[in-house]
């Protein structure tokens, strides 16, 4: 355990959590208008209708796998199934879901690059987001496939290292040693993952935080009283009123 370890596994996760929560609150308060999926389906539908569900559903399974692996202590599952059976199930399901997610995002990126209008609507922010997102998935796959052994050949179970560290974060007693004992594959995956979390509030990924589950419960017809807008002398910048000819990816407003 050295200073770098403490910085990466003791301090960085909290910084990222602050950025994530603070960023979300900031965006929710000041950028509701920009809070959208920014769908490009109007331009291209054929590839999107395959790529997008494959990616998103794959991601859901991956997410569920992460939650199970990180939150459920090994001691608990040992009571029910053996480590070998658990690993087999997790490895198989995780690999299938991971491959699906990866194939989905590759198809989506291919579509984005080759469909003229979609590429023209792609901002620098989007490009950065895609790099980090794909890196997180790829390193996650690498960690799943090769991360169980150190370079010296010693067997390392992520449920005894990464998961222990992850849970310790929530009680503000980060078990830096547990994480430092993991393999480089997991370390890289986690760092890229942290970068992705930090990016969420400031990219289009933010749409994940407004999954419209309340749709299942709300009435179909919504009545609402007229908004009372207090008139202002000069309106200055009005979003959504850029002149015809402004490109989709041009994020500057007048």
């Amino acid at each position: 355990m050295n200073a770098v370890d403490i910085l990466l596994w003791g301090a960085l996760p909290y910084v990222v959590a602050l950025v994530l929560v603070g960023g979300l609150i900031w965006r929710y308060r000041y950028d509701q208008f920009g809070w959208t999926t920014r769908s490009s389906q109007l331009y291209e539908s054929r590839l999107l209708r395959i790529g997008s569900p494959v990616f998103h559903y794959g991601l859901f399974v991956v997410l569920a796998g992460h939650l199970a692996g990180l939150f459920i202590p090994k001691a608990w599952t040992d009571l029910v199934i053996s480590q070998e059976t658990y690993h087999l199930i997790a490895f198989t399901a995780g690999t299938i879901a991971g491959v699906a997610t990866l194939l989905g995002i590759v198809l989506l990126i291919y579509r984005r690059r080759t469909t003229g209008p979609v590429f023209l609507a792609t901002t620098k922010n989007d490009k950065l987001m895609y790099v980090v997102l794909v890196a997180a998935i790829v390193f996650g796959m690498i960690a799943t496939l090769t991360g169980s052994r150190t370079t010296a050949g010693m067997e390392v179970n992520y449920r005894e290292t990464v998961s222990v560290w992850f849970r310790s974060l929530f009680i503000f007693q980060p078990d830096v040693a547990a994480m430092a004992g993991s393999t480089w594959q997991f370390k890289v995956h986690i760092l890229v993952g942290l970068a992705l979390f930090a990016l969420v509030p400031f990219s289009r990924l933010v749409h994940a935080f407004t999954v419209p589950l309340h749709y299942l419960f709300r009435p179909y017809i919504v009545y609402r009283s007229r908004d009372v807008v207090v008139p202002t002398a000069s309106r200055g910048r009005v979003r959504g009123w850029d002149p015809v000819g402004t490109l989709d990816r041009d994020r500057k407003t007048r």
């Binding site: 109007l42 999107l48 559903y57 609507a121």
Partner: protein, 550 residues
């Protein structure tokens, strides 16, 4: 409809369009676009469009609900279900909307490289302005537009794709002839229907689409829309649009900033045919769902039943109880919408079978019948000829019935007969051959009612076409236009012209000029002189009641 106890009364703005007067000039579309969708992201969007029928419409074949899955369907148990699926199904398919129209179904918007006309080097060839795509900026080939088949242009090739033509051919075995001499056509201006039972709203996962409790205008909260795009599928009229730059849904706003201060919508104000009517109706919000569940053939009647009699003391009492101001109740009593839709029963809803209870009503055009008669060498306006023709010329009537009454030709025939009787009756008045009470009786009306209807439809004074109550007075100080009136003792309605014409005198805020000058001028019988209009700028100030430059 089952008798239910009336407990609430709400107001709804509505529009009636008299299709016989539409000349298809697209002025409404152009002024609407100038006012609302002349922006990046909405280049392809027309909140108001005018389509030629028979024709495919905009977006192409939007009426084909087997494909686009808009509106509601009735379930086996008699309830309502979105045609595109229930709540779970919608959430599960949220990652890629299964049936969203693509840009190609609307059209690829373009501009022209005008710069080339003046900057091209001197040469043997004339410089041309190439079409440039507004999406990619590249050279483009124009292959379709929002009114590509305008006035039946190219319809020998494309009109067979009109979903109604297709349906009539398949089900009723009626061929609509597309040869020029044998065809018929009329124009259908379309805006958002501001439905009582909107399926766009029901489709929105975020709950961003809402109906204003005061006037029933359906709006999209731009801050709450997350771009899930389900509303675009949900709306059977395809009047929900995706702004590809902002990633949000947008729609016709019924020009609510104008309506709130008593001005007509831009499309109505600028209509050269003066075919649009604006007003409010009172309705029972608790009866809407039940009405929308009626049998297909009863939907029109069920929709009329929702409209409450504005003179009924119980209705008035309940409206007051709900906080409706008296000027609104009075406006509902003078409403041309109530008069044309329910009192005279000549205005019909567009596609009631979508079960959304649309609130933009259409007086079906008599012109296809008159035109066909005239082409065949008959006197197209004689009552006998017209009455006979409405029944025998089944194709236009069944076509109109597919548009306005879910296929019930009887209702359409009834309306057309009323319009025909009115024409013949007034012809008698004009030619001095006398008022023929039998003509009125033949269509179940009194001579007085026929003349009232004539006044509303043919004379169509500005103040009778547009009966728009302003937003609640107690909140009025917050509204921009009226806020200015506090600075002026006489208020906007009392503003007098200066010594040198209508807009002269001391400078007044733009808002007041717009409100009172426009109102005065619109109600005048003579056109304003161009001197009186100097210093006027902007399309929003334009109206049809001004002298043209010579």
């Amino acid at each position: 409809m089952a008798t239910r106890k009336l407990t609430r009364v709400m107001a709804q703005v509505g529009m009636v369009m008299n299709l016989d007067k539409c000349i298809g000039c697209h002025t409404c579309s152009v002024t609407c676009k100038q006012a609302w969708t002349n922006r990046a992201g909405t280049e392809y969007v027309w909140f108001n469009n005018v389509e030629t029928r028979p024709g495919q419409g905009y977006p192409r074949r939007y009426e084909d609900q087997e494909r686009w899955r808009g509106g509601w369907v009735r379930t086996k148990s008699g309830g309502l279900r979105l045609r595109s699926g229930g709540r779970f199904q919608k959430l599960l398919s949220i990652f890629a909307s299964p049936v969203q129209p693509e840009l190609a179904d609307y059209y690829e918007p373009w501009t022209y490289d005008y710069q080339n006309l003046i900057s091209a080097p001197l040469g043997d060839d004339f410089p041309v302005a190439r079409p440039k795509s507004l999406i990619t900026g590249e050279d483009t080939k124009i292959t379709w537009s929002a009114n590509w088949d305008d006035s039946l242009g190219g319809s020998t090739a494309t009109a067979e794709l009109d979903p109604i033509v297709e349906k009539l051919r398949n089900e009723a075995n009626e061929q609509i002839r597309m040869e020029y001499e044998k065809s018929f056509m009329f124009f259908l201006p379309r805006i958002c229907e501001h439905c009582l039972n909107p399926s766009c709203m029901a489709s929105c996962p975020s709950g961003a689409i809402y109906k204003r409790a005061e006037d029933g205008i359906v709006l999209v909260d731009q801050d709450r829309c997350r771009g899930w795009r389900q509303c675009i599928t949900g709306c059977p009229y395809k009047k929900m649009y995706f702004n590809h730059r902002s990633g949000k849904a947008e729609k016709c706003t019924f020009c609510y900033p104008r309506i709130e201060v008593g001005l007509p919508t831009v499309c109505s104000e600028t209509c050269v045919g003066r075919l649009r009517y604006l007003g409010i109706i009172l309705y029972d919000p608790d009866a809407v769902t039940e009405a929308a569940c009626a049998d297909e053939k009863d939907l029109y009647e069920a929709q009329l039943d929702l409209m409450l009699d504005p003179y009924d003391p119980q209705v008035i009492a309940l409206a007051r109880e709900g906080g409706m101001p008296d000027d609104w109740i009075e406006a509902a009593q003078r409403s041309p919408i109530y008069a044309l839709a329910k009192h005279f029963r000549v205005a019909l809803p567009l596609h009631p079978e979508y079960r959304t209870m649309p609130m933009v009503w259409y007086i079906p055009p008599l012109s296809p019948v008159v035109d066909l008669l005239t082409k065949q060498g008959h006197d197209g306006e004689a009552a006998g000829n017209l009455f006979g023709a409405i029944d025998t010329l089944r194709i236009p009537v069944s076509y109109l019935a597919e548009l306005f009454t879910a296929g019930d030709t009887q209702v359409v025939t009834g309306v057309l007969q009323k319009l025909a009787a009115m024409r013949s009756y007034m012809r008698g008045v004009t030619l001095g051959t006398g008022r023929d009470p039998e003509l009125a009786a033949a269509v179940g009306m009194t001579p007085d009612a026929l003349e009232q209807m004539y006044r509303l439809l043919a004379i169509a004074k500005y103040a009778e076409r547009y009966v728009i109550p302003t937003a609640h007075r107690e909140e009025a100080h917050n509204l921009e236009e009226l806020a200015c009136s506090l600075d002026y003792e006489d208020g906007p309605g009392m503003y007098e012209s200066g010594p040198f014409g209508e807009a002269s005198g001391r400078p007044v805020p733009v808002a007041i000029e717009t409100y009172s000058a426009l109102k005065e001028r619109q109600r005048a019988d003579t056109a304003a002189s161009s001197e009186a209009l100097q210093h006027r700028a902007g399309m929003l100030n334009w109206d049809a009641n001004q002298e043209t430059e010579r």
